[in-house]
Amino acid sequence: MRHALLSGLACTLLLAFTNPAGGQVPDVFKSILPGLKHTPAGGTPPATTLPPDAASAPRQKSDQEIRSEIAPDITCTKPRERFNVAEKVAEYGGTAASLRLQRLVSTDMQFSDLSEEDRRLLNYLATTTVWVPAEIEAKVAAVYDTATGPFGSRPSPAPLQREALASIEEKLARLRLAVAEYPAEIRLVLNPKLADGAFARLGGIIQLSTRFLNGLADAEQGADFLLAHEVSHVYKRHAIKQIQFLLISSSEGWSLAKKLLQRASRGTQVDLMGDGVFALTTVPKIIEFVRSVQIKFGREQELEADACSTVWLKALQIDPYKAWEQYHATLGANDTAYSLEHPTYEERLSRFKEKVAGSNSGPAQKATDKGSVKKGGGQLIDDARQKRKP
């Protein structure tokens, strides 16, 4: 059964890799295909090859620009991440960085061999780019969730839950209209085996526990807040980025990260044999890896989600502060039970109040001053791990 599912996944992914989004080649492959000219959806300049030639190479960024780029987007003003790995590498360190990445992924370099500069480069890429197109992420997630359950064997929701879900779906549809250029499909799923909470998972799946669904029906605009927050995690691609960080943070992850980047380095050149081997051998390993780790978002990612949800709630003419208060009054965890990885109630409250007042530079600058801009993705993970320790 399991092999059948994985084989099915492999075939699906092989097709997806060779023909994603109805015949469109994913940006990540276009962007690094030697000589291929294309304009990414966001209107950014044509991507370069790996390594880029001098004429088309993007301007190399200063250290300050790079630090600012990898800082948490707590004002929701950064463009969403694209699959422009080659372009980003060139921006990071020009031809030298491009050659460095090529050496990292195409040699047998071990995780323990990575230098500080290698790690900085990888952290930069894990923070500023995504290595898996949204269409493929959604396909992996669909199979992953079917295979692992509780979705595979889950009974359909009870009548009461069906009605509550329908009401939340309506809110979600309204929210989606407020977000331009949304990167993925969102699927709202009730997981009756989930003890508590609501959270965004890989591939645009938002899981709700029965407890949360029950409370959301009474939360009024608090439900809009929760949806906007979770949808923000999907928008910012937090789940896949956490996986990227995990891949570059351990030796077993590193071997998979190399394969993923190696595949990307082939660009749009479809190699049936190579892609077949990739789909049959690497993708199942990635799924196994994802299963073996618990994807937890860091504090900065929660703040990013709060920031984007604020922008979208305002677009829906919903007062983010009131929505947050309604959420907290109905479903908020009491402080004694709060986990350390989330911003405090007071911190969030102050942020939402300032957002409503129209000024968001204060808290953003404050967080920057604390030094969070200096943290790369790996550091964020390390911080989160430290915080999770009992």
């Binding site: 009548p159 009461l160 003890a195 909470g197 407890r211 009474d218 009054a329 479903l331 009491n334």
Partner: protein, 281 residues
Amino acid sequence: MNPFCKAPNLLVRALTVAAMLFGSAAAAAQAGCEVSCAKREACEVDVDKEHKPITQGGYERIQNCALVTVKTGAVQVRYRHKGMHMTPILVANERVQDLFLKFPPDACAVSSGACLQERMNQMNVAHAGHGIDSAKASPGGTGQPCARGLPCGMILPPGADWHFPLAERAFEGRLELTMLRGGARQGGSTQITFPVRDGEIRGDGTQLQPSAVYGYRLVQPDGSLVASGEFAVLGTTAMTTLKRLAEQNSEKQGLSLEAAWLDALSANDMDWDLNRLIAGK
């Protein structure tokens, strides 16, 4: 290939199938169910050849349901099959045993404290810290709270005279509640204590807030912990929906409102209240 090599495999398979059939038949033979008189008629059943009238309104729990044969009227039978809530109606001369052969009952065919405990224990506590704001969750608790009769899962908003018995009828002590999620900042009580006397918990349940999640500790008079657990209170909107669903079901199925209400509780996995209502009948 030596054909004899296959023989042990075939024998094992045959024995397995026989064991499965025998096992499911044995489980079906002992499975309980709940019966109610539908269509607002007089109903009678035979339970192992013993005549038994089934009253209208509510449900009656029968321990060995495979022995039930309907004599007169239309009898609604309720039990769980593959986790689904089954409510077929049987008429004169129809046997529950035949129904069980087609749709075998689960081990937890009818709800009980032990089944509720098992369900709560199976919940995925590992993921409970994720999401918008994390909180520790332990729905199965410690000390088998659901099996002891303490609230578990989702419960109806309690009334002013909230009381329920524990399985251990001689227990003395107290139940200490802490609001884990909900309107603590809106003036709600975060800590509530109910006394436990002669194995019964009694107090003003209106202190509990709809939609809120509570954690509790059952302690002895000296403060030593006996069991701990969690439950959520059904929200106001959900309560309105539940009532409407029960009314619709009552009209559609010709059931008494009481029976339809119990159906609604069962269909929505509100086992704790269901058990209390059926046991208190």
